[in-house]
Structures are given as structure tokens and as C-alpha cells.
């Protein structure tokens, strides 16, 4: 109960911080729109319509959730370190992983904003008919995807806490996930060796569930896979966090100086 409260309050305050930052708040919305616009223009040039266009619009909109998470997650702990709050978080009695998950969840939430913005942009600027067959399953799948991507961001943030240049690595992970997780490109088109990697990434299953909901197919299996991976990330993240914090206490790498 108190854990849930902690996650909610922290998530809300982090969302406040993010919405007041030009990088997270403004660019977090604009950046996915740049890519979505490019993609809409490409599909328009190809003369696509109907379900192919809808599928592209849904895929492009979900790209934003990962986009908002990947760069910020790898950057946020460096920022906490620079402003001197990282030490305070570690010195608090609450377990560190429990503090970081709401942080990355808030990033994925900004991404969910951008998802809505992209869908509206597609609808009103490009006239793409957003016909969702099963709205309830669509919303549910989106929520699960936000949590799944938040958890992946959590793993990324925790693993890179010690590296000052982590933001560049996070930024470089943005497009590979778009590329292999089936946002726009069907998995079958990719080389065979890429597929197992895609299966280990929660966004693959979340995206699949969202698309299935939009087309009126069943979502349960995809959602379960996404949730299972999210739990696995959380578990790995906890182990990594324990190891990282111990090493930081031994090697004095929490403070910037």
C-alpha cells in the first residue's frame, strides 16, 4: 500500500519536473512527431490507404513512448548526480530501485502523450481514419506497453548510472528498437537472427497487442508476454542496482567530483 503510494507520488512529481523541461516536455512531444510526419509522408507518397495506413499510424504513434524513455532514462541519473540529488536518493531508507521505476514510468507517460498527439496529427493533418476495433483493449494494451517500456527504461537507467556519457548510448538505442520491435516493419522482413532479440524486448509484445486491439484480434497472449518481460526487467534491475550501489559505495562514484 505504502509502496503504491510512493510510486504514485514520485511518478506525479517526476511528471511535473518533466513537463517543465523543454527537453523532456517539448522535445519529447515534437521529436516523435518529426519521425511520424516523415513516415506519414512516405506512406502518402506510396499511395497506401486503409488498414496499411492505420497500422503505420498506430506504429508511428507508439514509437514516441520508447523515444521519450530511451534518451531520458539514460540521462536522468546523470542529471540527478549533477544536481547533487542522487546521493540523497541513495541515502534515503527507501530501496533505490523503487525510486527509479516511477522516474522512468513518468518518461513513458510523456511518451503516451506523444502517442495521442501523433494519432491526432495523423487524423487531422493527414486525414488517416483512426478506426480502433476494440477501444477498451487498445487502452489497456497501451497502458501495459507504457509500463513495459518504463521497466525497460528502468533497466537502462540503472545499468548506466555510473557512466557519464550514457545519454549517447540511450539515444543510439532509440532507433534500433523502432527497427526490430515491429513498430512499422514486420518481424518476418528482418534477418532471422534479429527475431530472438526482438522477442526479449517488451515493446515488441506491447506493440503487437496494441495493433491487435486496433484490428479487433485477441490481445491476451501479447499482454502476458509484455508483463512477464516487464517483471523480468524489474528483477534484473534490482540485482543490477544492488551490485551498482555496492560498487559505488566502494569506489566513491556517486558524487560527480
Amino acid at each position: 500500500m505504502s509502496t503504491l503510494r510512493l510510486v504514485l507520488v514520485t511518478w506525479w512529481l517526476q511528471l511535473k519536473i518533466r513537463s517543465r523541461s523543454a527537453f523532456d516536455g517539448l522535445l519529447g512531444l515534437l521529436w516523435p512527431l518529426f519521425f511520424a510526419t516523415t513516415i506519414f509522408l512516405m506512406y502518402r507518397a506510396s499511395g497506401a490507404e486503409g488498414s496499411a495506413l492505420l497500422s503505420a499510424a498506430v506504429g508511428a504513434s507508439v514509437m514516441g513512448i520508447w523515444s521519450a524513455t530511451s534518451t531520458s532514462a539514460s540521462f536522468t541519473l546523470q542529471q540527478e548526480r549533477r544536481q547533487g540529488t542522487l546521493e540523497l536518493l541513495v541515502a534515503a531508507p527507501t530501496p533505490f530501485p523503487l525510486l527509479i521505476f516511477p522516474v522512468t514510468l513518468s518518461m513513458a507517460t510523456v511518451g503516451a502523450y506523444s502517442m495521442i498527439a501523433t494519432l491526432l496529427w495523423g487524423r487531422f493533418v493527414f486525414g488517416i481514419e483512426i478506426a480502433v476495433a476494440n477501444p477498451l483493449a487498445f487502452v489497456l494494451s497501451t497502458l501495459v506497453t507504457v509500463v513495459g517500456i518504463g521497466m525497460l527504461g528502468f533497466l537502462l537507467a540503472i545499468s548506466t548510472v555510473r557512466y557519464r556519457s550514457a545519454w549517447a548510448i540511450g539515444a543510439a538505442l532509440e532507433i534500433p528498437v523502432w527497427l526490430i520491435c515491429g513498430f512499422l516493419i514486420p518481424l518476418q522482413v528482418l534477418p532471422v537472427w534479429v527475431r530472438p532479440i526482438a522477442w526479449l524486448l517488451a515493446p515488441t509484445w506491447g506493440m503487437s497487442a496494441i495493433r491487435a486491439a486496433a484490428e479487433g484480434r485477441g490481445v491476451l497472449a501479447d499482454l502476458l508476454a509484455c508483463i512477464a518481460l516487464a517483471i523480468a526487467y524489474g528483477f534484473i534491475g534490482m540485482l543490477v542496482s544492488r551490485h551498482m550501489l555496492n560498487s559505488a559505495r566502494r569506489r566513491a562514484t556517486l558524487a560527480l567530483s
Binding site: L6, T10, Q83, L88, A91, A92, R249, A252
Partner: protein
């Protein structure tokens, strides 16, 4: 049982530079210190920059692991039981870092209240109580980025007190705040101690330590060079009062003659603009002012002052800077 118990604590840092040819360098920041702090005491760690004060505090609040030695806070070992320690201690450092600039002061406190598991029902009253204590009532809804340095520092203190810590660690809390703010800060700290909080303070401001601390450990080069009450330190180090005589044109031989007087320990000449000042360190109880004056013959004499040694005299002598 002591609230803070430190035994033979050491801490070594390794730093390495370069990507391929890594040059490892070892720095011993803390070299075997021991002290204990009793409940309700205000204990000061006094020392110059780089003496090992912050490293010591960070080991005590569980942010750093000791290289060797032992430390416990409230009976909990800082290595074996970090969470028990964290729950019960507060940590405040000086400077303007350590706050979320884009959040209001109130939101900053809410966040840390959550982190320190302050029960939801108490949070509101506790936060308002603290805002009142540090004098930020009325400004709490503004974003921290607009706060002055002093306001930030006061918000820090409120943050450190949210969970009513039994032990409070203050790491150079008055750095960069104006004299009025510093005085208010000292009053706040005194009030906390009166209410039973144990405080460990680091500072390099002598008057701050003198004014606040029950006991002081002077730390230099990672070692405790002396400890005791401020009065103890002054007496132990300095031989006695200092007579300062302003003279215009000290004649040859005067210094030697003064040095030869009974009761005089040492004489130093300091240039101060046109004048020279004889700093005469005197043995306790000896009365030498008249004798000094007679040594000076016809030299024009300005101000003559006899003063008790300050903590600064003691400190400078202890940490060994001229």
C-alpha cells in the same frame, strides 16, 4: 552507549586516468580516525578543505564503505545495516545543489517525505511545521530555481529534518550564505540540540564551531590532530595570552631583548603597512607588558592589545599552516 562510534576508520580512494594506459593513483582521504559522540551532543569536525571531513560523514551516512575500521550509528553498523542507519539519520550539505529546481519548495519536501516514509497523515502538518521553522512559509509554492542561496540552504535543512532524525549530519551547512543567514542557521541548530537531536557538524569557520559545538575534533590530513571542548583546545594548544604591540620602526636587537624576558615564549614580527607588530606569546599568568614597553626605548609605539588565544590560533597551530 555512544550515538556515533567510530574506530580506526580509514578510507582510500583510487582514481585512474586515461582509457588505455590507466594510471592508478591512491589517495588516503581518512587515515585511522576514532571518536564517539554521545546522545544530545553537538560534535564538530573542524578542518581545512580536503582534510577528510566529508569523506568521514559519507561513511557514517552509508554512502561510502570504509576501507578498514568500524563505525556505528545508534548501535547499527554502517556496513552491515545501512537501511537501519538511513532511517534514523538526516543529512544536510552546504552549497546550492541537492534540490529539484523545477519543483516548488513544497513539492521538494513532499518528495523526500515520501522517500523517508513519513506517514501520509502527518506529512502536511510536518511540512508546514518545518517551513515555519526555517522561515519559508509563504514562499513554499515557488519553484526552487527562483530561490536565493540562503533560502535553498534553509529548504535543505527542512528536508533533512522531515523524518525527525535522531542524528543529524551537517556538512558545511553555512557555506556561501550571508552572515545574517548563518546566524539564523546557528540558532536553528542550537534549538534542535536543545530538543535532543544529536548533531555532527563539519565546518571550517572557527567562530561557528566555537559558538555551537560541545566538543570538537580537529582533523587534518585525514587524521584527528586534537579533540576536546573548544576551551580545552584553546588552552592545550596556546601557551597563554598574546600581546600585540604596534611599533613604528623596530630597532635592531629589540626582538632579541623581548625574547629574553622572563615569561615570554616567542616573538614574531608582522609587517602591517607603515607599522610593525610584535606578536608576543606569553606564558599563562606572566605579566610582561611593562617589561616589553621598556625594551622598546624611544621607538614610537601605537596600539597595545592583550588578547586571549582564539580557537583560530589553536586551529592554525594544529593544522600546521602559517
Amino acid at each position: 552507549m555512544a550515538v556515533i562510534e567510530v574506530k580506526d576508520l580509514t578510507r582510500t580512494f583510487r582514481s585512474s586516468k586515461g582509457l588505455f594506459r590507466r594510471n592508478a593513483r591512491e589517495v588516503e582521504a581518512v587515515r585511522g580516525i576514532s571518536f564517539s559522540v554521545e546522545r544530545g551532543e553537538l560534535f564538530g569536525l573542524l578542518g581545512p578543505n580536503g582534510a577528510g571531513k566529508t569523506t568521514t560523514i559519507k561513511m557514517l551516512i552509508t554512502l561510502l564503505l570504509p576501507t578498514t575500521g568500524q563505525a556505528s550509528v545508534l548501535g547499527f553498523d554502517v556496513v552491515a545495516h545501512p537501511r537501519e542507519v538511513r532511517r534514523r539519520v538526516g543529512y544536510v550539505f552546504g552549497g546550492d545543489r541537492g534540490l529539484y529546481d523545477r519543483l516548488s519548495g513544497l513539492d521538494n519536501l513532499r518528495y523526500f517525505a515520501e522517500l523517508y516514509a513519513v506517514p501520509p497523515r502527518e506529512q502536511r502538518t510536518r511540512i508546514h511545521e518545518l517551513l515555519e521553522l526555517v522561515g519559508l512559509t509563504g514562499r513554499e509554492k515557488e519553484r526552487v530555481e527562483g530561490y536565493s542561496r540562503g533560502m535553498r540552504q534553509r529548504l535543505h535543512i527542512a528536508r533533512g529534518l522531515l523524518h525527525r532524525p535522531e542524528v543529524l549530519f551537517l556538512d558545511e551547512p553555512s557555506i556561501g550564505i550571508d552572515p545574517v543567514g548563518a546566524r539564523e542557521l546557528r540558532a536553528t541548530v542550537k534549538a534542535l540540540v536543545e530538543h535532543g537531536t544529536t548533531v555532527l557538524l563539519t565546518t571550517h569557520y572557527m567562530f561557528e564551531a566555537d559558538d555551537l559545538c560541545d566538543r570538537i575534533a580537529v582533523i587534518a590530513g585525514g587524521q584527528i590532530v586534537s579533540s576536546g571542548t573548544p576551551d580545552d583546545l584553546k588552552q592545550r594548544v596556546s601557551s597563554g595570552p598574546v600581546v600585540e604591540v604596534e611599533v613604528y620602526g623596530v630597532l635592531g636587537g629589540v626582538v632579541d631583548r623581548v625574547q629574553g624576558l622572563p615569561g615570554v615564549r616567542s616573538v614574531v614580527v608582522e609587517e602591517r603597512g607603515q607599522a610593525q607588530v610584535l606578536l608576543v606569546h606569553v606564558e599563562p599568568g606572566a605579566e610582561v607588558t611593562q617589561a616589553i614597553m621598556s625594551c622598546l626605548d624611544d621607538a614610537r609605539v601605537g596600539r597595545v592589545v592583550t588578547r586571549e588565544p582564539t580557537l583560530e590560533d589553536a586551529y592554525i597551530e594544529l593544522v600546521g599552516t602559517p
